[in-house]
Amino acid sequence: MIRYLVLVFSVFAFTLAVHAVAVDEKPLADPVQEARARALMKEFRCLVCQNQSIEDSNAELAQDLRMIVRERIALGDSSDNVRAYMVDRYGDWVLLRPPLKSSTYFLWGSPFLVVLIILLVVMRKRRSAAAVPQPLSDDETARLAQLLEDDT
């Protein structure tokens, strides 16, 4: 029974895996090159669907761009060359991971900035909480003595 279930599940798992790869496309013959192409496809935004990579997308443009990525790799382009090819046409917007440059320093730095602000606030709070209480003034001492006396 369990064996049967395992079989059924693995059939499902494999069909899903097959679906993830676009059926109409021929992968590169060299598995190393194909792996590099696939890794790159995950980095590029599908400009039609916007929140999918071209590897995920069924859009026709994504299909064309996948073809171009494979072509460039097959021609011997480095991954950086392929990235440059895409950015040259579609701008940084095509990269799902924005590059670190002067216009994006704030974008990349803002999480650290927030952490820094939180740290400063926490430190200030701690310092004020830990402040040594002032000794009683003469008036206060007299009043305290009086209260204690009243009690007895």
């Binding site: 400009l47 039609v48 916007q50 026709e60 443009l61 064309d64 761009l65 171009i68 950015v87 040259d88 046409r89 579609y90 701008g91 917007w93």
Partner: protein, 175 residues
């Protein structure tokens, strides 16, 4: 006062995010990286039978020209077509058409049906020229100055106020 600080921070964030969500900004409309650069080199078969191919040289006429990527299967292209006719007719701007992933007879049928605003039309059957121009979908329209440099890109159909408020001011700046 101090106890209201978190509330104020949250309120400001809510307003910020809500504002960004409700404003209909389209990231596709960010300026194309090609602006300020010479139009990418290309050579495409002409839609008119027997005519010379459409090439980058056709863009360097000494006066501003528009390059419009269109397709007969594209619905928004139909919507903007009238404005292309106006640009070519009333404003006398040469408009060059590039049929994106469109077979010749279908593109021809489209222009016969709606009128032909294009001074020249090229066929980009595999869409590679479109990709070189950073086109993400049809229609897209590029404004080229007399030297063949891209000055403006209009993403999507030229409809509604786009002609008067966006394209024409850019065009007038060049004329």
């Amino acid at each position: 006062m101090q106890r209201f600080v978190p509330l104020i921070v949250v309120a400001v964030l809510v307003m910020l995010f809500l504002g960004m969500m409700l404003s209909d900004r389209n990231p596709n409309e960010i300026d194309s990286v090609l602006i300020g650069r010479p139009a990418p080199e290309f050579s495409l078969p002409s839609l008119a039978e027997g005519a010379a191919p459409l090439t980058t040289a056709d863009l360097k006429t000494g006066e501003p020209v528009l390059v419009n990527f269109f397709a007969s299967w594209c619905v928004p292209c139909r919507a903007e077509h009238e404005n292309l006719m106006i640009l070519a007719g009333k404003y006398r701007v040469p408009v060059i058409g590039i049929a994106y992933k469109n077979e010749a007879d279908k593109a021809r049928g489209f222009l016969t049906e709606l009128g032909n605003p294009f001074s020249k039309t090229g066929l980009d059957l595999d869409g590679r020229v479109g990709i070189d121009w950073g086109v993400s979908g049809v229609p897209e329209t590029f404004l080229i100055d007399g030297e063949g440099v891209i000055r403006y890109r209009h993403w999507g159909p030229i409809v509604g106020s786009s002609l008067e408020e966006r394209l024409l001011p850019q065009l007038e700046a060049l004329q």
